[in-house]
């Protein structure tokens, strides 16, 4: 009964969401702090009667709020059921194999190859540099491409590309292919490339509510780019699901984005914890890649990543291990609250 393309699918495996035991969850890069208190207030006063009506398929109000926040036009904003869906629509709309391979870094968000297999897009993985940073020159040296995608900061390394380098890259890349920058983690210490979308009509910046805005549970992601790119995303959306984002999620997303002061506060705490953890692990002889995200990617000579993962799990700490050549000795550790991070550091001192 199944289509040919099913045979080649290897679906994305999300980090485990344990049900039966209390773990300190440092494995899916969720924010340890609750969303803005305004969200709670909104929900207390929310008229549940509104739920009987279908949501606004154009996301009019939320697009306005996002546009105001980033000083762009609402026509330059698209919204979806998590950035996973926004990315899936973008792959469908912009990348195909006629124009060459889609380029992305070798070690990156593992969803990219999954989407490529799903849509039958040929791709080429470009090796990271020796220090695990993304080799931008690789994007330029690869000849004809159907487009470029990379997260900034990159996952799972956490390493950031500065805005000036992105600007330079955009100048040099072909103007007729889409460059997609996945900025899921940009708020933890990077500068967004959204300021460049007016100049580069082929630049699409994708962001999410799941990380810095602490709303992984509502599944809202968004894309910002030239109106033509956004129109194309709407055309794809309307071919899959008229209403991918629900009434309450949209309302929550609107109110959360406006509370800049609250989010600046919790982001600062996460950054501080990240710097503390990085320092402490380094003092214990670990190698920690310089991260600008809400996680660190770390290894210790003589230890296998799987072993670190297993032993921490026994002790009640969930981190993420990728059983992939080249990064097998690393674990990815999400930055939790100060308390969670201290607990982890204590445990690591004890067992390794």
């Amino acid at each position: 009964m199944f289509s040919e393309r099913m045979k080649n699918l290897s679906p994305y495996v999300p980090g485990e969401q344990p049900r039966n035991r209390k773990f300190v969850k440092l494995n899916t890069n969720e924010n340890p702090y609750p969303p803005s208190p305004d969200v709670q207030e909104l929900l207390k006063g929310f008229d549940a009667g509104k739920l009987r009506l279908y949501p606004d398929p154009l996301f009019t109000d939320l697009r306005q709020v996002i546009a105001d926040r980033y000083h762009i036009d609402p026509k330059q904003v698209f919204v979806g059921n998590g950035s996973d869906e926004v990315l899936a629509f973008a792959f469908y709309a912009f990348f195909d194999s006629i124009n060459g391979d889609l380029l992305f870094p070798e070690h990156t968000y593992s969803f990219y190859p999954v989407y490529c297999d799903f849509h039958g897009i040929n791709y080429k993985k470009l090796p990271l540099k020796g220090d695990f940073s993304i080799d931008l020159s690789g994007f330029l040296a690869s000849g004809k491409t159907s487009g470029v995608i990379f997260p900034n900061p990159n996952a799972p390394t956490g390493m950031l590309i500065e805005l000036a380098a992105i600007e330079e890259l955009m100048e040099k890349l072909p103007k007729d292919r889409v460059v997609l920058i996945d900025e899921a983690y940009i708020d933890f210490g990077g500068e967004s490339a959204v300021s460049l979308i007016g100049r580069f009509k082929n630049l699409l910046v994708v962001k999410t509510y799941s990380k810095s805005l602490s709303l992984a549970g509502i599944r809202i992601g968004f894309a910002m780019g030239d109106e033509k790119l956004i129109d194309a995303l709407f055309a794809v959306k309307d071919s899959f699901n008229s209403y991918p984002a629900d009434v309450l999620s949209l309302a929550i997303a609107e109110i959360a984005m406006k509370d800049v002061a609250y989010y600046d506060g919790i982001t600062e705490r996460i950054i501080k914890s990240r710097e503390t953890l990085t320092r402490e692990l380094a003092a214990l002889g670990w190698e920690v890649l310089p991260s600008k995200a809400n996680f660190v990617f770390a290894r210790k000579e003589g230890l296998d990543g799987r072993e670190i993962y297993d032993r921490l799990r026994e002790e009640g700490f969930l981190v993420r291990h990728f059983n992939t050549d080249g990064i097998r000795d690393f674990v990815r550790i999400t930055i939790g609250t100060e308390e969670m991070t201290e607990g982890l550091t204590r445990k690591i001192k004890e067992i390794f």
Partner: protein, 368 residues
Amino acid sequence: MKLSIPEQILSIAPYEPGKPIEEIEREYGIKKSVKLASNENPLGPSPMAAAAVLENIGNMHRYPDGAWHQLRSKLAEKYGVSTDTIIIGNGSDDIIAILCHAFLAPGDNAVMPFPSFLMYDISVRAAGGIPVRAPLNGMAIDLDAVAGAITPGTRMVFLTNPNNPTGSHFSRNDFQRFLKAVPENVLVVVDEAYAEFVRDPDAYNALETPLADPRIVCLRTFSKAYGLAGFRVGYGIMDPSVADVLHRVRQPFNVNSLAQVAAAAALDDVAFLEKSVSVMLQGVDFLEAELTAMGLVVHPTQANFFLVDVKADASRVFQELLKYGVIVRAMGAYGFDTCLRVNAGLESENKTFIAALKQVLNDSDING
């Protein structure tokens, strides 16, 4: 810039959902409008669903349960099936889309009645497949015509029971006969979005004996009888081998946390569901009697909506009704130029609609 949007996407005329109330109120400068256009529950959701949402707001920084544990278990219990036969979607649109992507290779076809729910056509095209339309017989799905349209290239069939937008239904016996004519390798997707409203005891109901045939995929939704259209939760019950395939193509976190707990709570509130269904069916009966008394033809329905032939250009009647703050749907896009699709609302909403329609139809300009 030249975008590489695939041909199959460019060939699609996007689904045009009914406009949100706010947009229409802005456009026409009206307040307190009555929307009877999207077959939504006028009572809204169960208070238990709203309470469950409030109880769970503390977990919003966490990703939703990608396996929909709680909701899936409740559904499994309700229908006496195992959880590996259930797929939850971000609305049943989501499940329709992933079914098409999983089962259609470019060039394969899917047979569907026409007119029926337009998303089948759109999703099939988006997956690179070819939609094959089997015309209705009058207002009813012609199961013989659907079976007759199946070719060696057919991978799936869509049926809507009751049918949207006509409200018609088919019987258990007719479906059994149809199934015998369907090849072993063709999936039969029965979309039962309106099953909770069905009154005819002979009507086919895929969940009466769930999983009776491995080819049957039954789709249901929380958007209609359960009053949770705003939350986007649909589900499908199907053979585990089919569900397994959908797990490979779906988004891992396709249904958000609050939607999951709201749907689970709504499922528990059986009394509220019964009340909602009864209010809507009373509304259907009231509207049918009033419209018939006005000399209009109401097509028989087993849903919470119906088609009424207003014997005038329905798109103009639709526009005129907007001026009275009444939102319904004109059915020109489905080939019924003189029909409106109206769903039952609250008693007061139904009365407002009837009064407005009388005014509009009395306008000689419309009739002329």
